[in-house]
Symmetry: C2
Subunit: 125 residues, 2 copies
């Protein structure tokens, strides 16, 4: 069965000591309201145009970075498709998959039932 995916989120990852400054800076720089996620309290998020979203994440370890999230209607099929394109599966987690692109940049693949032909790209399986 075909599935859909799209680039959906831009994530600002920051260590605990700089997270609140990052959250305030990007909120005010872009004029976007960033709300804490009750279920995943390390994240704050808000809407950008075109179905995109901005997130901040408190990093447990590692340096600040920007990472991208691909949303999809079929996580397993999308992970397999991206592996065929040269990505590596780092962590097949409970809620999302963490992958690395060919240069080693981390990105995530996240289930999203709201995607269809009106707002995402269809991929044959």
């Amino acid at each position: 069965m075909p599935h859909f995916s799209r680039l959906s989120k831009i994530v600002i990852d920051a260590p605990a000591e700089s997270h609140d400054a990052e959250l305030a800076f990007w909120r005010d720089a872009l004029g976007v309201t960033l709300v804490n996620f009750e279920r995943f309290p390390e994240y704050h998020g808000g809407d950008l145009p075109g179905g995109f979203g901005l997130l901040t994440q408190v990093l447990g370890e590692g340096a600040p970075r920007v990472h991208l999230d691909i949303h999809t209607t079929d996580r397993a099929a999308e992970v397999a498709r991206l592996q065929r394109l040269g990505a590596t599966l780092v962590d097949d987690g409970e809620h999302w998959a963490i992958m690395r692109d060919p240069a080693g940049l981390v990105f995530c693949v996240i289930p999203d039932r709201r995607l269809d032909a009106s707002n995402a790209t269809e991929w044959p399986d």
Copy 2:
């Protein structure tokens, strides 16, 4: 005079040795056509929904990363606004300004005359 700005570009920065693999991966992962910029040949770019764009850049030095570009109708006023929010000006270049956010992440501020109240945020000066 008020000015306008918005988050416009997501840039995949890759060293020369991994750039072509990155270009091919993100082109095929997102299904976006990425065209080489004649004036700035280290960049390839294409359109995403909502007025966003994806770019790849061949990095002269440094590790792979994702960085963000803010476009604006008034570069000097936008740089000053972002400095007041806690960003640092790294390089006030000929074509764009390179800045760092409070955690040290690099981002750029780029002049763009196409922005107005229909597609960007208005900031009083």
